[in-house]
Amino acid sequence: MMNPAMDAAGRATVADAKIVALARESRGEALQLIYAAHKVRIYTFLLRLLADPAAADDLTQDVFTKAYQALGSLTSEHRVLPWLYRIATNTAIDHIRRRKRFTWLRVGRLAGTREEPLMKDEHGAVPERDQLRRVLATLPVEQAAALLLHALEGYSYKEIAEIQHCSVTAVRSRIARARQKFRTEYATTEARHPS
C-alpha cells in the first residue's frame, strides 16, 4: 500500500510540472490554478504570522502578484508550494519591517475589514487556541514562519532551510526558540490565570 504522504507528494509533483508547463503558455491560467490550489494555505500562514486578517488579505494579494510576475522563472526543478511559501515569508518580513517605520498616534477605524471568528473546537477550547494565535503573532517572523512551515505543512528542516534561505542549524534553532517562547508565554498566562 502506498504511503499517503508519498502519494500526496507524488501528486503534488505532477501538478507542479503541469503548472510550470502551463505557465509557459499562459501565465494567467497558471496563476489561477496556483491561486485556487494554494490560497487557503498561504492566507492561513500569513494570518497566523500577523494575526491581522486585513494585512493577511493584502499580503496574500502581494504574494500571488509577485508569483505572477515571477512565473516565467519557474522551472521543472521547482516545487510550487515551497516557492510560494518562500515569497510569502519574504513578503511578511518586508511587511513587518515596513510596519516598524511608522509609529501610531491614533488607531484608525478599519472600515470593512473582517475579524477572524472565534471557532470553538469540539471541547469548546477557544481560549487556548486564541492564546496560540496570539503567541504566534508575537514571535519574531523568521521563528514563527519556521514553526508554522513545520507544523502546518510537515516540511523537514532541510526544506524549511531552502524556503528561508538559511542553514538547517538555523532552522533548528528558530523552531526551538519559537517553542521556548511558547513555554514562557504559557507559563506567564498560567501564572496570571491559575484556574
Binding site: 490560497k39 487557503v40 477605524r109
Partner: protein, 817 residues
C-alpha cells in the same frame, strides 16, 4: 629477544577492530606479553568508551536538540544526548511532551480563505488585457509603452451627461419597467461615506463623494440595473436587475463586484431590500404573469451571505417596494393600491393606502406612505398618534425619514422637482425646488444635505427650512446647519428667495462643535467677518498640503501625517513617518494618500480608509521627480525631470508602470475626473492630454511667459494653467485665453465643490500673506493674513487653507458674510 612494540596506528586500528585477522592475532599476543602496550591499549579503550557515552548537557543547551528530536530531525548521536538528559530531567521530559503536541495544536487552528477582494484582485490581474505586456518599471529599466500622438486637439467633454428620466416613471408603453420603483436609485453608505447611484442605462453604479459629488469609481454591473440597497452591516451594496432576475453585490471597501446571483422566482422582481435583521435580502416580486399590481405577488427571502433563496412568501398584493423597519422588525409591502404592514413572521398587522414610496419614522412607530392623488401627492401616516394626511403639489416620487422624526418628500413639478421637509407632526416645514426631475433622494446626516438622483445624475442641496416658491437650481446647498443653541434651524441663503437673507447660523457654532471632536483642540479664532483660524495642536504645522474631496491632508513639521476634515472641521493625527523621512510631494486620492520622499527614494502610501501607512515603495528614480498627481482611480502619476515618460504607481498592486509621452517634458500635471492625464510641457510649449481609456494622446501648442506651476481641469473640462509669472490661462478646446494676471507666482489651482477652478497665490509684495480667488477672475482675491499652503472647499463652499504656522484658515463664502 623481545618483539617490536605496536605502533600507534596499529594500536588504534586494534581498538577500532580494523586490523586484519592475522595482524589482530599478532597484536593481541604481543599485548598479552607487553606491559607497556597493554597499558596503552587499555587507555585507548577507556577513551573510546567515554567518547561513545552520550554527552551530558544542561537544560539550556539541550533546547535545540530536544526540539529537533521531537520533530524527528535529530541524528543518532543527538538522540542519545537527548535520551541521556531526559532520563535525569523531569522538567525537560514534560517540555518534550508539550512540544510534541504543539504542531497538532497549530494544525488544529482553522484554515481560512482570503476575502473576496483578494479573489477579485487576482482575477483582475490575470484578466487584464495588458497582462502580457511589460510596461512596468522596477528598479532600473523603463520600457516604452505607448506613443500615440495626434495633432492639436483638446477634447472638451461635459462631466456628467446622463439620461434624465428616472427608472420606471413617465415612460408610457413600458411593461415590466413601470413596475419598478423609482426609488432605490441612490443609497448613502455611512461606513465609507460614499453615495452609490444607479445608472440604469449605463449598466453601472457610480460611487460618488457626497462632499463634492464627484464620481470616485464607476462600477459596471451589466444588464439593466433597476434598484439599489445598502447592507450596512456587511458593507456591501446590492443591485437588482429586474429583467435578468439577478442580484449583484458590490464590496464597498474595494468598490468592485463580488458576486452575482440569479434569483429563482417566477414573477418579475420589483425591489430589493436588506431585511430588518440584515441576515436576509428581500426581493419583492409580482406573481408570474402579472404585469400590474392588481394581482398577488411574492417576497423572495435570500440569505444575505450565501445569496441562496431561503423562502418565497406569497403576498396578497404585488409589492412594488419592500421597506423593512430595522427598529421594530416590521416590513411594509408597498403597491400602488395597498400598503401591507407585516411583522417579523410575515403576518399582516395593518393595511394602509398604497403608494410609490414609504418610510418608517426614526422617532416613532409611524409609517409614512407617499401616494398619488390625481396629478398631485399625498402623504399618509399610520401608527400611534399618527398625524393626518398632508397634500403636496406635484407627482409623488420618494420619501425618506430624517433623524429628528421628520421626513423629506420628493415630488416632480413641471420639468423640475421639489423637495419638502415635513415635521414629525405632519406639517410642512419648508421646500426647495430643483431644476432637474428627481427619481430618488437620500439624506446625509453628516452634512445635513440631501441628494436627489435621477437616471444616474445627482444633485445636492441643503435641507429646506422655509417654504420656497423660487426655483433655485443650485446643485449644492449652502451652510451645513449645525444644531444651534436656540433650537432654531439655520436658514439657507441659497434656498431663500432673498440673496441677502438674515445671517446664517453662526459659523462659530459649527466650528465650536468641531472642538468637541476627537482632537479636542481649541476653538477657532475669528480673524475677520468671514475668516477664521482653527489652531492645530502644538507642533502640528502643515508644511506640505494635499487636498482631496472634503479632506486636507498634510505633512507637519514633525514628520507627522495629519488630516483635516472640512465637513466636520475635525483634525486627526494619522501617524508619524520615521525621523529620516523627507517628504517632497504629497498627493491625495479618494482612498490613498502618497508621501513621496525624493531623498530616500520611497513612496509611503497611506490608506485614507484605514488611516495608516499600508505600503512603502522604494524606487531609485524618485530623486528626479518634477511633479505628481493622483487620478480618480487612485493611481499616482509622477513626472520626472527631463524624462520623456510618466511613471504611474498603483497602490492597490504596489506596482510601478511607465508611460511614454511621445517625447514630452512634463512641468506640471493633473488628472481630471475622467482619469485623463493633463500635462504642461514648457520646453516644447504645449499642453497635452492622455486618455488611458482610449490610449490617445492630444496636444495643443501653447506658448507663454514663465514656467507652469499649477494645472487643474474644471467641471466644464476647461483646463486652467498657472505660471511662475502669475498668469492664469484657460484652455477650452483649442482656445487659449489669458484669464488673470496676478504678477506673482501661482501656488496652486484647485476646484471647489461645484467643480469651479480657484487659485492660491502670495499677496502683492508688501501686503504679506496669501490670497485666493476664482481662476476666471470673476471675484477679487480673498486675502489671508499669513502664509498658506493648500486650498480645499467643503460641500457648502467654505474654503480651507493650511497655515504652516500651525492652523487651518476657514473662509466663508462671500455671500455668507
Amino acid at each position: 629477544m623481545g618483539i617490536a612494540h605496536l605502533s600507534a596506528d596499529e594500536l588504534s586500528a586494534l581498538i577500532d577492530g580494523e586490523l586484519r585477522a592475522q595482524a589482530e592475532l599478532r597484536a593481541r599476543l604481543h599485548i598479552g606479553e607487553c606491559v607497556s602496550c597493554s597499558a596503552k591499549y587499555a587507555e585507548g579503550m577507556r577513551l573510546d568508551e567515554a567518547l561513545r557515552e552520550p554527552l551530558a548537557v544542561g537544560c539550556d543547551e539541550i533546547v535545540d536538540l530536544l526540539s529537533a528530536a521531537v520533530d524527528g530531525e535529530a541524528n543518532q548521536v543527538d538522540q542519545a544526548i537527548v535520551r541521556n538528559h531526559l532520563a535525569g530531567c523531569e522538567s525537560c521530559e514534560r517540555r518534550s511532551q508539550a512540544w510534541a503536541s504543539m504542531a497538532a495544536e497549530i494544525r488544529s487552528l482553522p484554515r481560512l480563505t482570503p476575502s473576496a477582494r483578494v479573489d477579485l484582485a487576482i482575477r483582475d490581474l490575470v484578466e487584464r488585457p495588458d497582462a502580457r505586456q511589460t510596461w512596468r518599471v522596477r528598479g532600473t529599466g523603463v520600457r516604452a509603452f505607448i506613443a500615440v500622438a495626434a495633432a492639436a486637439i483638446v477634447v472638451a467633454v461635459g462631466l456628467m451627461p446622463g439620461p434624465e428620466l428616472p427608472v420606471g416613471y413617465n415612460t408610457p408603453g413600458t411593461t415590466e419597467r413601470t413596475l419598478v420603483a423609482g426609488v432605490q436609485q441612490i443609497v448613502l453608505n455611512p461606513r465609507n461615506n460614499t453615495l452609490y447611484v444607479l445608472d440604469p442605462n449605463g449598466a453601472a453604479v457610480d460611487a460618488r463623494d457626497p462632499g463634492t459629488n464627484f464620481v470616485k469609481t464607476r462600477i459596471a454591473v451589466g444588464g439593466r440595473p433597476t434598484a439599489l440597497a445598502l447592507n450596512e452591516s456587511a458593507n456591501t451594496i446590492l443591485v437588482l436587475d429586474a429583467e435578468r432576475k439577478r442580484v449583484t453585490e458590490i464590496d464597498a471597501v474595494t468598490n468592485t463586484v463580488t458576486s452575482a446571483t440569479t434569483v429563482a422566482v417566477t414573477g418579475t422582481p420589483t425591489s430589493i431590500s436588506v431585511g430588518a435583521s440584515a441576515t436576509q435580502i428581500l426581493v419583492g416580486t409580482t406573481s408570474s404573469g402579472q404585469s400590474n399590481s392588481t394581482g398577488g405577488g411574492a417576497l423572495a427571502v435570500l440569505d444575505s451571505s450565501t445569496k441562496h433563496l431561503e423562502t418565497v412568501r406569497e403576498t396578497s398584493i404585488a409589492p412594488a417596494l419592500v421597506v423593512p423597519d430595522q427598529q421594530t422588525g416590521r416590513t411594509a409591502l408597498v403597491s400602488a393600491q395597498t400598503t401591507t404592514l407585516v411583522d417579523s413572521s410575515y403576518n399582516v398587522v395593518a393595511t394602509v393606502p398604497g403608494g410609490v414610496s414609504a418610510t418608517f419614522s426614526r422617532q416613532s412607530d409611524n409609517l409614512a406612505v407617499l401616494s398619488a392623488a390625481g396629478a398631485d401627492s399625498v402623504v399618509t401616516f399610520a401608527g400611534t398618534n399618527a398625524p393626518s394626511a398632508l397634500s403636496l403639489r406635484g407627482e409623488p416620487r420618494a420619501i425618506t425619514s430624517l433623524p429628528d422624526g421628520g421626513f423629506l418628500v420628493l415630488v416632480t413639478t413641471g420639468g423640475g422637482s421639489r423637495v419638502s421637509k415635513i415635521t414629525r407632526d405632519g406639517t410642512l416645514a419648508g421646500s426647495v425646488d430643483l431644476a432637474v426631475p428627481g427619481g430618488d433622494l437620500v439624506y446625509d446626516g453628516a452634512t445635513n444635505l440631501f441628494a436627489v438622483a435621477s437616471g444616474g445624475r445627482v444633485d445636492m442641496a441643503q435641507i429646506p427650512t422655509e417654504v420656497s416658491s423660487v426655483a433655485t437650481p443650485r446643485p449644492t446647498g449652502s451652510n451645513p446647519a449645525s444644531p444651534s443653541p436656540s433650537g432654531t434651524p439655520a436658514t439657507s441663503p441659497s434656498a431663500s428667495p432673498s440673496p441677502t437673507a438674515q445671517p446664517s447660523a453662526s459659523p462659530a457654532i459649527a466650528l465650536t462643535s468641531a472642538t468637541t471632536g476627537p482632537s479636542g483642540v481649541a476653538k477657532a479664532r475669528q480673524l475677520s467677518a468671514d475668516l477664521y483660524s482653527y489652531p492645530l495642536p502644538a507642533g502640528v504645522e502643515p508644511l506640505i498640503v494635499a487636498t482631496h474631496g472634503s479632506r486636507l491632508w498634510f505633512v507637519d513639521s514633525r514628520n507627522g501625517i495629519d488630516v483635516f476634515d472640512t465637513k466636520t472641521s475635525e483634525y486627526y493625527g494619522i501617524g508619524k513617518l520615521d525621523g529620516g523621512a523627507r517628504v517632497s510631494y504629497l498627493a491625495a486620492g479618494s482612498e490613498y494618500v502618497f508621501a513621496v520622499d525624493t531623498t530616500s527614494g520611497q513612496i509611503d502610501v497611506v490608506s485614507s480608509v484605514q488611516e495608516r501607512v499600508v505600503l512603502t515603495y522604494p524606487m531609485s528614480a524618485l530623486a528626479n521627480v518634477e511633479t505628481v498627481a493622483v487620478g480618480p482611480d487612485d493611481r499616482l502619476w509622477l513626472a520626472l525631470r527631463n524624462a520623456p515618460y510618466l511613471l504611474v504607481f498603483d497602490p492597490k498592486l504596489g506596482r510601478m508602470d511607465s508611460l511614454y509621452l511621445a517625447g514630452a517634458r512634463v512641468a506640471a500635471l493633473t488628472v481630471d475626473a475622467k482619469g485623463r492625464v493633463v500635462y504642461a510641457d514648457d520646453l516644447r510649449g504645449a499642453v497635452g492630454m492622455f486618455d488611458p481609456a482610449t490610449n490617445h494622446l492630444y496636444e495643443v501648442a501653447f506658448h507663454k511667459r514663465g514656467t507652469t506651476t499649477a494645472l487643474v481641469s474644471d467641471a466644464d473640462a476647461t483646463l486652467w494653467l498657472g505660471t511662475t509669472t502669475g498668469e492664469i490661462y484657460a484652455v477650452a478646446g483649442t482656445n487659449v485665453t489669458l484669464s488673470v494676471s496676478l504678477q506673482r507666482p501661482v501656488t496652486t489651482l484647485v476646484t471647489d465643490q461645484r467643480g469651479r477652478a480657484w487659485y492660491l497665490a502670495p499677496s502683492r509684495p508688501g501686503a504679506g500673506g496669501f490670497g485666493f480667488g476664482p481662476a476666471d477672475g470673476s471675484q477679487a482675491a480673498r486675502p489671508v493674513p499669513g502664509p498658506a499652503a493648500g486650498l480645499a472647499f467643503n460641500a457648502v463652499g467654505w474654503a480651507f487653507l493650511g497655515d504652516p504656522r500651525g492652523a487651518v484658515y476657514i473662509a466663508l463664502p462671500a455671500d455668507e458674510r
